[in-house]
Protein backbone atom coordinates (compact mmCIF):
# COMPACT_ATOMS: atom_id res chain seq x y z
CA UNK A 1 0.00 0.00 0.00
CA UNK A 2 1.43 3.33 -0.97
CA UNK A 3 1.59 5.91 1.78
CA UNK A 4 2.31 9.57 1.12
CA UNK A 5 5.93 10.28 1.82
CA UNK A 6 7.00 6.64 1.93
CA UNK A 7 9.35 6.48 -0.96
CA UNK A 8 8.84 3.37 -3.02
CA UNK A 9 10.54 4.17 -6.25
CA UNK A 10 13.60 3.50 -8.27
CA UNK A 11 14.04 5.58 -11.35
CA UNK A 12 15.75 3.04 -13.50
CA UNK A 13 17.25 -0.41 -13.27
CA UNK A 14 20.16 -0.24 -10.87
CA UNK A 15 22.79 -2.84 -10.49
CA UNK A 16 24.51 -3.08 -7.17
CA UNK A 17 26.89 -5.96 -6.75
CA UNK A 18 25.12 -7.78 -9.58
CA UNK A 19 21.67 -7.63 -8.04
CA UNK A 20 18.77 -6.04 -9.84
CA UNK A 21 16.94 -3.81 -7.42
CA UNK A 22 14.44 -2.32 -9.84
CA UNK A 23 12.00 -5.08 -10.74
CA UNK A 24 8.44 -4.29 -9.71
CA UNK A 25 9.37 -1.42 -7.39
CA UNK A 26 10.08 0.85 -10.35
CA UNK A 27 8.14 4.07 -10.07
CA UNK A 28 8.91 7.65 -10.86
CA UNK A 29 9.43 10.19 -8.12
CA UNK A 30 6.31 12.35 -8.02
CA UNK A 31 7.08 15.98 -7.25
CA UNK A 32 4.52 18.61 -6.38
CA UNK A 33 5.94 21.95 -7.52
CA UNK A 34 4.38 25.12 -6.13
CA UNK A 35 5.12 28.55 -7.63
CA UNK A 36 2.94 31.53 -8.49
CA UNK A 37 5.21 32.48 -11.39
CA UNK A 38 4.22 31.00 -14.73
CA UNK A 39 7.77 31.22 -16.05
CA UNK A 40 9.25 29.55 -12.98
CA UNK A 41 6.67 26.77 -13.12
CA UNK A 42 7.61 26.02 -16.71
CA UNK A 43 11.29 25.92 -15.82
CA UNK A 44 10.94 23.79 -12.68
CA UNK A 45 8.70 21.39 -14.56
CA UNK A 46 11.34 20.91 -17.23
CA UNK A 47 14.12 20.56 -14.66
CA UNK A 48 12.19 17.86 -12.84
CA UNK A 49 11.23 15.99 -16.01
CA UNK A 50 14.88 15.91 -17.07
CA UNK A 51 15.65 14.40 -13.66
CA UNK A 52 13.08 11.69 -14.52
CA UNK A 53 10.43 12.86 -12.11
CA UNK A 54 6.70 12.99 -12.56
CA UNK A 55 5.58 16.58 -11.94
CA UNK A 56 2.40 18.27 -10.80
CA UNK A 57 2.81 22.04 -10.89
CA UNK A 58 0.36 24.30 -9.05
CA UNK A 59 0.26 28.04 -8.62
CA UNK A 60 -0.50 28.41 -4.92
CA UNK A 61 -0.15 26.86 -1.47
CA UNK A 62 -3.92 26.51 -1.34
CA UNK A 63 -3.98 24.46 -4.51
CA UNK A 64 -1.08 22.38 -3.23
CA UNK A 65 -3.05 21.48 -0.11
CA UNK A 66 -6.11 20.76 -2.22
CA UNK A 67 -4.06 18.43 -4.36
CA UNK A 68 -2.72 16.60 -1.34
CA UNK A 69 -6.22 16.48 0.10
CA UNK A 70 -7.60 14.86 -3.04
CA UNK A 71 -4.83 12.33 -2.87
CA UNK A 72 -5.82 11.35 0.62
CA UNK A 73 -9.44 10.93 -0.35
CA UNK A 74 -8.48 8.64 -3.17
CA UNK A 75 -6.36 6.49 -0.92
CA UNK A 76 -9.12 6.30 1.66
CA UNK A 77 -11.30 4.82 -1.07
CA UNK A 78 -8.68 2.21 -1.73
CA UNK A 79 -7.48 3.86 -4.93
CA UNK A 80 -3.73 4.22 -5.04
CA UNK A 81 -3.70 7.80 -6.24
CA UNK A 82 -0.72 9.85 -7.22
CA UNK A 83 1.16 9.95 -3.95
CA UNK A 84 3.55 12.86 -3.59
CA UNK A 85 7.18 12.05 -2.86
CA UNK A 86 8.52 15.57 -2.64
CA UNK A 87 7.17 19.11 -2.44
CA UNK A 88 9.21 21.91 -3.90
CA UNK A 89 7.79 25.34 -3.24
CA UNK A 90 8.54 29.00 -3.78
CA UNK A 91 8.82 31.03 -0.61
CA UNK A 92 7.24 34.34 -1.68
CA UNK A 93 3.73 33.74 -2.91
CA UNK A 94 0.56 35.78 -2.48
CA UNK A 95 -1.94 34.25 -0.08
CA UNK A 96 -0.15 31.34 1.53
CA UNK A 97 3.62 31.66 1.54
CA UNK A 98 5.91 28.67 1.01
CA UNK A 99 6.78 28.86 4.68
CA UNK A 100 3.11 28.63 5.67
CA UNK A 101 2.66 25.70 3.30
CA UNK A 102 5.70 24.02 4.86
CA UNK A 103 4.20 24.45 8.32
CA UNK A 104 0.83 23.04 7.25
CA UNK A 105 2.50 20.00 5.69
CA UNK A 106 4.68 19.35 8.73
CA UNK A 107 1.73 19.80 11.11
CA UNK A 108 -0.33 17.19 9.28
CA UNK A 109 -0.04 13.60 10.38
CA UNK A 110 -0.82 12.39 6.87
CA UNK A 111 1.80 14.45 5.04
CA UNK A 112 4.53 15.40 7.49
CA UNK A 113 6.84 12.70 6.10
CA UNK A 114 6.88 14.31 2.66
CA UNK A 115 10.16 16.18 2.25
CA UNK A 116 9.68 19.87 1.46
CA UNK A 117 12.24 22.00 -0.37
CA UNK A 118 11.94 25.79 -0.38
CA UNK A 119 13.01 28.02 -3.29
CA UNK A 120 13.64 31.70 -2.87
CA UNK A 121 15.22 34.53 -4.82
CA UNK A 122 16.36 36.05 -1.55
CA UNK A 123 19.41 34.48 0.04
CA UNK A 124 18.59 35.50 3.62
CA UNK A 125 20.20 33.39 6.34
CA UNK A 126 17.39 34.06 8.82
CA UNK A 127 14.84 32.89 6.28
CA UNK A 128 16.81 29.76 5.43
CA UNK A 129 17.24 28.92 9.12
CA UNK A 130 13.56 29.45 9.82
CA UNK A 131 12.60 27.05 7.02
CA UNK A 132 15.10 24.40 8.04
CA UNK A 133 13.94 24.67 11.66
CA UNK A 134 10.37 24.16 10.52
CA UNK A 135 11.45 20.93 8.84
CA UNK A 136 12.37 21.90 5.30
CA UNK A 137 14.71 19.41 3.70
CA UNK A 138 16.67 21.94 1.70
CA UNK A 139 16.66 25.49 0.45
CA UNK A 140 17.39 26.51 -3.14
CA UNK A 141 18.32 30.05 -4.10
CA UNK A 142 16.64 31.12 -7.33
CA UNK A 143 17.12 31.07 -10.23
CA UNK A 144 16.99 27.30 -9.99
CA UNK A 145 19.62 25.33 -11.87
CA UNK A 146 19.65 21.75 -13.04
CA UNK A 147 22.45 20.97 -10.58
CA UNK A 148 20.21 22.12 -7.69
CA UNK A 149 17.42 19.75 -8.71
CA UNK A 150 19.81 16.88 -9.46
CA UNK A 151 21.41 17.29 -6.06
CA UNK A 152 18.09 17.02 -4.27
CA UNK A 153 16.78 14.08 -6.27
CA UNK A 154 20.10 12.21 -6.04
CA UNK A 155 20.25 12.84 -2.31
CA UNK A 156 16.72 11.53 -1.85
CA UNK A 157 17.36 8.49 -4.00
CA UNK A 158 20.59 7.63 -2.19
CA UNK A 159 18.89 8.10 1.15
CA UNK A 160 16.17 5.70 0.06
CA UNK A 161 18.48 3.17 -1.49
CA UNK A 162 20.61 2.94 1.65
CA UNK A 163 17.49 2.45 3.70
CA UNK A 164 16.21 -0.22 1.33
CA UNK A 165 19.51 -2.10 1.39
CA UNK A 166 19.40 -2.20 5.16
CA UNK A 167 15.80 -3.38 5.09
CA UNK A 168 16.39 -6.04 2.47
CA UNK A 169 19.55 -7.34 4.08
CA UNK A 170 20.29 -10.72 2.56
CA UNK A 171 17.02 -10.87 0.60
CA UNK A 172 18.47 -9.63 -2.64
CA UNK A 173 17.13 -10.85 -5.93
CA UNK A 174 19.63 -12.20 -8.38
CA UNK A 175 20.01 -10.54 -11.72
CA UNK A 176 18.22 -12.46 -14.43
CA UNK A 177 20.66 -14.63 -16.41
Amino acid sequence: MAVNGAVTWLRRAEEIDGYDLSASDSEEVHVLAVDDSLVDRKVIERLLKITSCKVTAVDSGRRALQFLGLDEEKEANGFDGLKVDLIITDYCMPGMTGYELLKKVKESSAFREIPVVIMSSENVIARIDRCLEEGAEDFIVKPVKLSDVKRIIDYMTTDFREGEERRRGINKRKLRD
Binding site: V39, D40, K142
Partner: protein, 150 residues
Protein backbone atom coordinates in the same frame (compact mmCIF):
# COMPACT_ATOMS: atom_id res chain seq x y z
CA UNK B 1 34.96 26.94 -36.30
CA UNK B 2 31.62 26.41 -37.97
CA UNK B 3 31.88 26.54 -41.77
CA UNK B 4 28.23 27.37 -42.26
CA UNK B 5 28.03 31.19 -42.42
CA UNK B 6 24.56 31.33 -40.91
CA UNK B 7 25.59 29.20 -37.98
CA UNK B 8 28.65 31.40 -37.52
CA UNK B 9 26.42 34.43 -37.53
CA UNK B 10 24.17 32.77 -34.96
CA UNK B 11 27.14 31.99 -32.73
CA UNK B 12 28.39 35.56 -33.00
CA UNK B 13 24.93 36.92 -32.23
CA UNK B 14 24.65 34.67 -29.23
CA UNK B 15 28.08 35.56 -27.88
CA UNK B 16 27.45 39.28 -28.17
CA UNK B 17 24.27 38.97 -26.12
CA UNK B 18 26.46 37.69 -23.29
CA UNK B 19 29.39 40.02 -23.92
CA UNK B 20 27.14 43.07 -23.91
CA UNK B 21 25.48 41.94 -20.71
CA UNK B 22 21.99 41.37 -22.05
CA UNK B 23 22.05 37.76 -20.91
CA UNK B 24 23.71 35.95 -18.03
CA UNK B 25 24.52 32.32 -17.20
CA UNK B 26 20.90 31.47 -16.37
CA UNK B 27 20.17 31.64 -20.11
CA UNK B 28 22.86 29.00 -20.61
CA UNK B 29 21.19 26.90 -17.90
CA UNK B 30 17.99 27.00 -19.96
CA UNK B 31 19.88 26.08 -23.14
CA UNK B 32 21.13 22.97 -21.32
CA UNK B 33 17.52 21.88 -20.92
CA UNK B 34 16.97 21.64 -24.66
CA UNK B 35 17.27 18.33 -26.44
CA UNK B 36 15.97 16.66 -29.57
CA UNK B 37 12.56 16.20 -27.99
CA UNK B 38 12.44 19.81 -26.73
CA UNK B 39 14.49 21.80 -29.25
CA UNK B 40 12.73 25.14 -28.69
CA UNK B 41 12.49 25.18 -24.93
CA UNK B 42 14.38 28.46 -24.47
CA UNK B 43 12.28 30.25 -27.03
CA UNK B 44 9.14 28.89 -25.37
CA UNK B 45 10.21 30.19 -21.98
CA UNK B 46 11.18 33.58 -23.36
CA UNK B 47 7.87 33.86 -25.22
CA UNK B 48 6.03 32.96 -22.03
CA UNK B 49 8.08 35.53 -20.13
CA UNK B 50 7.17 38.37 -22.48
CA UNK B 51 3.51 37.38 -22.50
CA UNK B 52 3.30 37.04 -18.75
CA UNK B 53 5.42 40.03 -17.76
CA UNK B 54 3.42 42.37 -20.04
CA UNK B 55 0.71 42.17 -17.41
CA UNK B 56 3.14 43.21 -14.66
CA UNK B 57 4.50 46.08 -16.73
CA UNK B 58 0.96 47.32 -17.22
CA UNK B 59 0.18 47.02 -13.52
CA UNK B 60 3.28 49.01 -12.65
CA UNK B 61 2.43 51.60 -15.27
CA UNK B 62 -1.04 52.07 -13.81
CA UNK B 63 0.29 52.19 -10.27
CA UNK B 64 2.69 54.95 -11.34
CA UNK B 65 -0.25 56.98 -12.60
CA UNK B 66 -1.85 57.08 -9.17
CA UNK B 67 -0.38 59.66 -6.83
CA UNK B 68 0.83 59.30 -4.18
CA UNK B 69 2.71 56.13 -5.10
CA UNK B 70 1.98 52.96 -3.22
CA UNK B 71 5.63 51.95 -2.92
CA UNK B 72 4.77 48.67 -1.26
CA UNK B 73 2.57 47.63 -4.14
CA UNK B 74 5.13 48.80 -6.70
CA UNK B 75 7.85 46.85 -4.94
CA UNK B 76 5.63 43.78 -4.89
CA UNK B 77 5.00 43.93 -8.63
CA UNK B 78 8.69 44.50 -9.32
CA UNK B 79 9.67 41.59 -7.09
CA UNK B 80 7.60 39.31 -9.31
CA UNK B 81 8.90 40.89 -12.48
CA UNK B 82 12.49 40.64 -11.31
CA UNK B 83 12.00 36.97 -10.47
CA UNK B 84 10.86 36.02 -13.95
CA UNK B 85 13.53 38.16 -15.58
CA UNK B 86 16.16 36.44 -13.48
CA UNK B 87 14.78 33.02 -14.42
CA UNK B 88 15.39 33.62 -18.12
CA UNK B 89 18.80 35.23 -17.63
CA UNK B 90 17.69 38.76 -18.57
CA UNK B 91 20.68 40.45 -16.98
CA UNK B 92 20.16 44.14 -17.77
CA UNK B 93 16.42 43.95 -17.16
CA UNK B 94 17.12 42.34 -13.81
CA UNK B 95 19.57 45.12 -12.91
CA UNK B 96 16.99 47.80 -13.70
CA UNK B 97 14.44 45.92 -11.60
CA UNK B 98 16.83 45.94 -8.66
CA UNK B 99 17.35 49.69 -9.06
CA UNK B 100 13.61 50.27 -9.18
CA UNK B 101 13.13 48.30 -5.98
CA UNK B 102 15.83 50.33 -4.24
CA UNK B 103 13.95 53.51 -5.16
CA UNK B 104 10.74 51.96 -3.85
CA UNK B 105 12.38 51.15 -0.57
CA UNK B 106 13.69 54.68 -0.18
CA UNK B 107 10.30 56.03 -1.36
CA UNK B 108 11.95 57.93 -4.17
CA UNK B 109 9.16 58.68 -6.66
CA UNK B 110 11.38 60.40 -9.23
CA UNK B 111 13.86 57.57 -9.06
CA UNK B 112 11.09 55.02 -9.59
CA UNK B 113 9.79 56.76 -12.67
CA UNK B 114 13.27 57.13 -14.18
CA UNK B 115 14.16 53.52 -13.41
CA UNK B 116 10.91 52.31 -14.92
CA UNK B 117 11.54 54.18 -18.18
CA UNK B 118 15.01 52.68 -18.37
CA UNK B 119 13.66 49.23 -17.54
CA UNK B 120 11.10 49.39 -20.32
CA UNK B 121 13.84 50.33 -22.77
CA UNK B 122 16.02 47.37 -21.77
CA UNK B 123 13.00 45.05 -21.80
CA UNK B 124 12.09 46.14 -25.37
CA UNK B 125 15.70 45.97 -26.58
CA UNK B 126 16.15 42.46 -25.24
CA UNK B 127 12.94 41.34 -26.86
CA UNK B 128 14.05 42.58 -30.28
CA UNK B 129 17.46 40.97 -29.95
CA UNK B 130 16.05 37.64 -28.81
CA UNK B 131 13.42 37.62 -31.53
CA UNK B 132 16.15 38.10 -34.13
CA UNK B 133 18.26 35.41 -32.47
CA UNK B 134 15.48 32.82 -32.31
CA UNK B 135 14.43 33.56 -35.87
CA UNK B 136 17.94 32.83 -37.11
CA UNK B 137 18.20 29.80 -34.83
CA UNK B 138 15.04 28.35 -36.34
CA UNK B 139 16.60 28.65 -39.77
CA UNK B 140 19.95 27.16 -38.87
CA UNK B 141 19.10 24.75 -36.09
CA UNK B 142 20.13 25.27 -32.45
CA UNK B 143 23.82 25.67 -31.61
CA UNK B 144 23.64 24.01 -28.25
CA UNK B 145 21.68 20.85 -27.86
CA UNK B 146 22.35 18.79 -24.80
CA UNK B 147 22.37 15.10 -25.47
CA UNK B 148 21.39 13.21 -22.40
CA UNK B 149 21.37 9.47 -21.95
CA UNK B 150 17.77 8.15 -22.06
Amino acid sequence: MDRNPMRRQLAIMRQSLFDQGYLDEQFIELEQLQDDANPNFVEEVVTLYYRDSARLILNIQHALERKPFDFNKLDGYMHQFKGSSSSIGANKVKAESTLFREYCRSANAEGCMRAFQQLKKEYATLRKKLEAYFQLARQTGPLETATRPK
